[in-house]
């Protein structure tokens, strides 16, 4: 299943500084929970605790699925479909 993963607002620094990651996931049943583990195993270079905390993303990162807050879509339980875009955005605090 092809999906696009995006990392912005500084979160891209966890994945080699690259914002867009088109990926092809094996099989068809992928919850966001499973995706997070896959990202930790396959994309995060170092310091995984800066991305995950427990079984979810660490505080300060928002997850948007097709530009909609994952909280409206079931969070960890949401099941990905072909061509989904999942955006991980680190909240900025500078001014």
């Amino acid at each position: 299943m092809k999906v696009t993963l995006e990392f912005r607002g500084g979160a891209e620094l966890l994945v080699n500084g690259v914002a867009q990651h088109p990926v092809d996931l094996d099989g068809c049943k992928w919850t966001v929970a499973r995706l997070l583990t896959w990202i930790q195993d396959n994309l995060i270079q170092e310091r995984p605790e800066l991305f995950l905390q427990g079984d979810s993303v660490r505080p300060g990162i928002l997850v948007l699925i097709n530009d909609t807050d994952w909280e409206l879509l079931g969070e960890l339980d949401y099941e990905l479909v072909e061509n989904d875009n999942v955006l991980f955005i680190s909240t900025l605090h500078g001014g």
């Binding site: 912005r8 607002g9 500084g10 605790e49 800066l50 905390q53 660490r58 505080p59 300060g60 928002l62 948007l64 530009d67 909609t68 807050d69 909280e71 409206l72 955006l87 955005i89 680190s90 909240t91 900025l92 605090h93 500078g94 001014g95």
Partner: protein, 283 residues
């Protein structure tokens, strides 16, 4: 008598003519704006453009909070300060520039740190609050104070080449805590001193904060509530994402709030309420 009903005087008609002829704005929008008070918290990269465009448009009263003084390294983005005012309080410096443009706006500079002790008292005097600060602790403090004081909070932020903007605690939308119940680990937070920022990025976001405040004050258009605007200066792209509504279990704006007065936010965040340089070697 309704304070919105006073007729515009000749000076106001002359000065604001280019926005008075906007059909949706008109004299009614101008009266609403001139009877609105806006508090700008942070007189830096976001606060400068926000203050000058609000004053230009004719907001009634502008509160300006900053404990800090102007430094040379501020001038690449903080466009209301000047070389001659290095060392002057930022709140005073902004007030001087704003007054030169529009002497009819009431200006209230506060040379204080926004603490849990003073926040509610100050905020209670304003209709709309702009978060133009630069650190996590103050952002939680300001959020909670706006929820407790029931004021809409126009929140902007900028770092490197990116900016973010939303309106919190407005019309059923979320507050900052609805999105972020727990503070980020301090080691994941980068400020402009450490991470840098292209000056025009807070310029853009500060302009948009002024716009959102004008929209809230005058009732024009659709405020950016339940939506988050993401700006990427390198690509020149803007993206608006849809956010959750206010959470019924939010600790401060939910149905049974546990935060009913302001707490110690530096302790809560494990980080200081400042964006000061920590002696990092830059080059």
């Amino acid at each position: 008598p309704d304070k919105h009903q006073h007729p515009l005087n000749h000076r106001e008609v002359a000065r604001y003519s280019r926005q008075l002829i906007l059909p949706e704005f008109g004299p009614e929008g101008q009266r609403k704006l001139s009877s609105t008070s806006v508090l700008i918290v942070g007189c830096g990269g976001l606060g400068c453009p926000a203050a000058i465009y609000l004053a230009a448009a004719g907001v009634g009263r502008l509160g300006l909070i900053d404990y800090d003084t102007v430094e040379l390294n501020n001038l690449h983005r903080q466009i209301l300060h000047t070389e001659g005012r290095v060392g002057v309080a930022k709140a005073v410096s902004i007030a001087l520039s704003v007054k030169a443009l529009n002497s009819h706006v009431e200006l209230v500079p506060y040379e204080v740190v926004l603490t849990s002790q003073v926040a509610l008292t100050i905020i209670s005097k304003y209709d709309i609050v702009l978060d133009c600060t630069d650190n996590v602790a103050t952002r939680y403090l300001l959020n909670d104070a706006c929820v407790l004081g029931n004021k809409p909070l126009v929140s902007g932020s900028a770092l490197r080449y990116e900016g973010q903007l939303t309106v919190y605690h407005h019309n059923g939308g979320p507050c900052f805590r609805c999105l972020h119940p727990k503070p980020p680990p301090p080691e994941t937070v980068t400020n402009c001193s450490d991470g840098g920022v292209l000056g025009v990025v807070p310029g853009m976001i500060g302009c948009l904060q002024a716009l959102e405040a004008i929209k809230l004050a005058s009732g024009l258009g659709t405020p950016l509530s339940r939506k988050l605007l993401l700006f990427d200066a390198l690509q020149g792209t803007f993206r608006t994402v849809k956010l959750r509504g206010g959470r019924s279990d939010c600790e401060v704006c939910g149905e049974t709030p546990t935060i009913t007065k302001l707490i110690d936010y530096e302790q809560f965040c494990g980080a200081a309420a400042t964006d000061k340089e920590k002696g990092v070697q830059l080059l």
